[in-house]
Amino acid sequence: MSENDKYRIKQLSIFSENRPNRLGAVAKVLKEGRINILGFSIAEGAGYGVIRVLVDKPEIAKDLLIKDGFVVKFTEVLAIQMQDTPGGLFDLTDQMKDINIEYGYGYRNPPYAVLIVRVEDIEQGIRSLLAGGLKLLDNVTFH
């Protein structure tokens, strides 16, 4: 256990084939499980997609989705706090030059904004982001 482990956030990655209203089916399961969605993105592949979701109760959400026939994996991501002002993202990128980001998505959470990223090497990512003076959100903020 590293003290940096608290910055590892459990994201649900859901495989979705190209079929009408798969998103609706995911959302329905989460609704019925009274699970709140905190962040969300859809990535489109060749005939299929991956739905990535941050939720308040990831373990329960995963079980419910699997029970409903979905293919679900946990993926560890990082949540970087940004200024909710013009230039907020730019200020981050300067500190992230050396980190290999696989994908990312953002959301606004006043008074600040959040950038979710999956990085290639999460331990090294956490260390260099912290060393660069960035603020990472603790996973208790989510779960």
Partner: protein, 432 residues
Amino acid sequence: MSYWNPVEVMPVPELKALQLKQLKMLVYKLYTFSPFYRQKMKEAGVTPEDIQELDDVRKLPFMTKKDLRDGYPDKLFLASPREVVRYHASSGTTGKPTIVGYTQSDIDGWSESVARGLVSAGVGTDDVLQVCYTYGLFSGGLGLHYGAEKVGAAVVPASTGNTERQIDLVRDLNVTVIAATPSYLLHMGEVAERMGVDIRKDTKLRLGILGAEPWSERMRDRIYEHLGIKAIDIYGTSELSGPLWCECAEQDGIHVWGDLTLVEVLDPNTGEPVPPGQRGELVVTMLQKEALPIVRYRTGDITTLYEEVCACGRTHPRIGRIQGRVDDMIIVRGINVFPSQVEHSLMQNPEVGNEFQIVVDRKGALDSMLVKVELRPEAFGDRLFELDAIKDRLTHKLRDALNVGVNVEIVEPGSLPRFEGKAKRVVDKRVY
């Protein structure tokens, strides 16, 4: 090497000369004595003098299931009723059954064929062979029975049904060889387990002579792993007599006795031979059958032909495991595609499941083929490029195997239709 009949190791040129001699005699006999065959040969413009070499068999007209059905019950018989000593009948799924008559010589030739196969698989006088094929109009039970008796094995004619009693017999009579459908053998394994009988420890079963339904290499492995039984593939249909040919102990193709049978493997569309090792329809000429002669009978079964001498030393041609039916074949951009080829290619990929669906469509003048496969949950890991790589790998594999352009779609597990019994793998959306 031990064999039943020295003819099994006859040098290939001699075997071919023997086949030609027998083919000539057969054609002469049919042309002279069989109104049905004479009519067919006249329509095809062929006479006995046209048969000068083995390849001339291709001049002869084909025979189909329909001919046999139309000939009900005995219009195609060459033997007189006095000479017939037995009848079998195939189940008629579309109405009338097909009746097959046997002279004493037919029964002898049939038993000889099975006996050779059993010996090649390692069955002998010390063995106790339980026949779990149905006895009766179906030719499976009696076919195995006569062949096994001929080699001097003790036969347990258990037929089908009452699985618990079957297992008691296997244990109490020290049965070493079992002849059954592969699915029934696996079922026996399950029932034995419930009865507290360990097939490996509590019985002497070592060999299974399995056929009468499609099965796979994977089932062979499963039978060996679960039950410790070496599984031998056997082939035959009632039209040809019944169960006729099986693999030898090498388990590398089914030996077809060339002195009794001439086999061809043909492109089902063109009727031309496919290159060695390629899939095609099994077409059979029975060289010595008397009561119901069979010439170039289109079995509808898809297989491959191997002419090389087997590692066991037997020189007769071999056919591969039956890989499906001609009816299942689809033609995409002029290329014959069998669902079994798709199944085989997919089987070697742990990322996807066993279910698949083939969707054929036509865009403009061009056919397109899409293969849908289900992702295995363990293969999913959040990254799109990993999914793309799986898809690319499968696409290339299928293209290599089928020689035709294929697109692959990866779908969620459980989303493809499941089938009880025969699976309908192909959705053909083309409008003709």
